[in-house]
Point group: C2
Chain length 248, copies 2
Amino acid sequence: MSSPFHPDYNPLIRKLESVFTLTDDERQALETLPMQVAVLKDHQDIVREGDQPSRACLILSGFACVYKMTAHGKRQIVSFTIAGDIPDLQSLHLKVLDNSVSTISPCRVGFIPHEALHDICLRYPRIGAAFWRETLIDAAIFREWVMNVGQREGVSRMAHVLCELVVRLRAVDLVEDHVCDLPITQVEFADALGFTPVHVNRVLQQMRADGLIETQGTRLRIPDWDKLKQVGEFDPTYLHLVREDVAA
Amino acid sequence: MSSPFHPDYNPLIRKLESVFTLTDDERQALETLPMQVAVLKDHQDIVREGDQPSRACLILSGFACVYKMTAHGKRQIVSFTIAGDIPDLQSLHLKVLDNSVSTISPCRVGFIPHEALHDICLRYPRIGAAFWRETLIDAAIFREWVMNVGQREGVSRMAHVLCELVVRLRAVDLVEDHVCDLPITQVEFADALGFTPVHVNRVLQQMRADGLIETQGTRLRIPDWDKLKQVGEFDPTYLHLVREDVAA
DNA sequence: CGATGAATTGACATTCTTCAAACTGTGTGG
DNA sequence: CCACACAGTTTGAAGAATGTCAATTCATCG
């Protein structure tokens, strides 16, 4: 039950374990959390703004994103979510969703009833605190994105999200040798950065020319991590990682 | 203890009471929370990025803001905070602060030890849930700001933050007759919107010309609330207000 | 092989920034 | 009561970043 390659492997448990050591009871409670697993295609909404869900969705594998729509139909992606994230955990305490969640790549998703989550939070306060903590880190990411979109331009803005993605992927062992699979389209980056797809394209070309990134298909390689970090002014503090090595 | 004009009036208790009815015990626990009150001048940091505070700050009166600094020294305000807000409540579960909090106007601030907050959360789970909920609303505000800064331009972007401010001020009875005191400088709006102060100035002139706002000194009047809401594409759902009338 | 989604290009328009200066209001000290 | 200082606001002109539109190319896949 602990290998990332085991089909029942639960990235949520692994994430919590990286924060503190679970007792047998706590681990048991997490492993027996009722969870309905679904496999979704890419570009499918998981939940929508306005929904009043009775369960939360845990991303088991694949890429998803949290987004909002402008009244004029423009989309803003406010964060990317990967394995181990629960992008709508907020719904536990806020009745109506103020954002949508959608897959980017095909995803395996686990739906966990609110009731079960409330229950485990009351019974195991450390787990409750850990969930709260997760939502606080989400908030920290949003704050960082406000700064990124508000203050950085072009190459720097793009470099910053790439840094964030790489560090978070590294934390779940999805980066090998400065290479990772990033099935995110230029249009999606545009929606995340507040740019036009055309502009994203040009920024990426610039970054390739500067030796900041190399791409082939959905594969991304970072030839010089320190340089990318510097260009993106990336300081991983806001991710509140416990294993600091993944951000080095 | 319940009048906003009583010196011991605690806007936090009032805020929680708007969400659910406190039991006598809960109310008692909140009223006896240890809190060290300080009076701060305007434009003073309350806590700084990198701090590892052992207490949280409750804004009792005045305007403050949460902000982050770019490596190049540019400031991004990621939210304004007013009476009843605890802008660094996150520090309860995240050891090191990834943002600063500073006053905008002179403020009365109450510092509450983390220990006392942890304690009350454990002893009164409904209060714990309410605090969690508050941090989730903060996150919702950050998300909305990402969208605002990323997708809206000029007048629309400014209109949106003004709408948010007015609604939140109305929720704590700081708006009368479509008029409120808004001691926020154009430079500060610039840092909040990702604009230049010069541009903010021009946007405000445009808005005055369009009849969207009227100003004299720090006093703001909204002649046509519906028009402002429409221009700012403002939908208050993300504020998760219980009293919906304040947003109408 | 054609179809589809994604990436790329070019020319041009717009929004926003930059810089540097002038103006306004308000409070303070002489 | 004037003069001055200070903080905030306003102005103008020129430039840079980004957006818009409309094609075109590329890659993958049934």
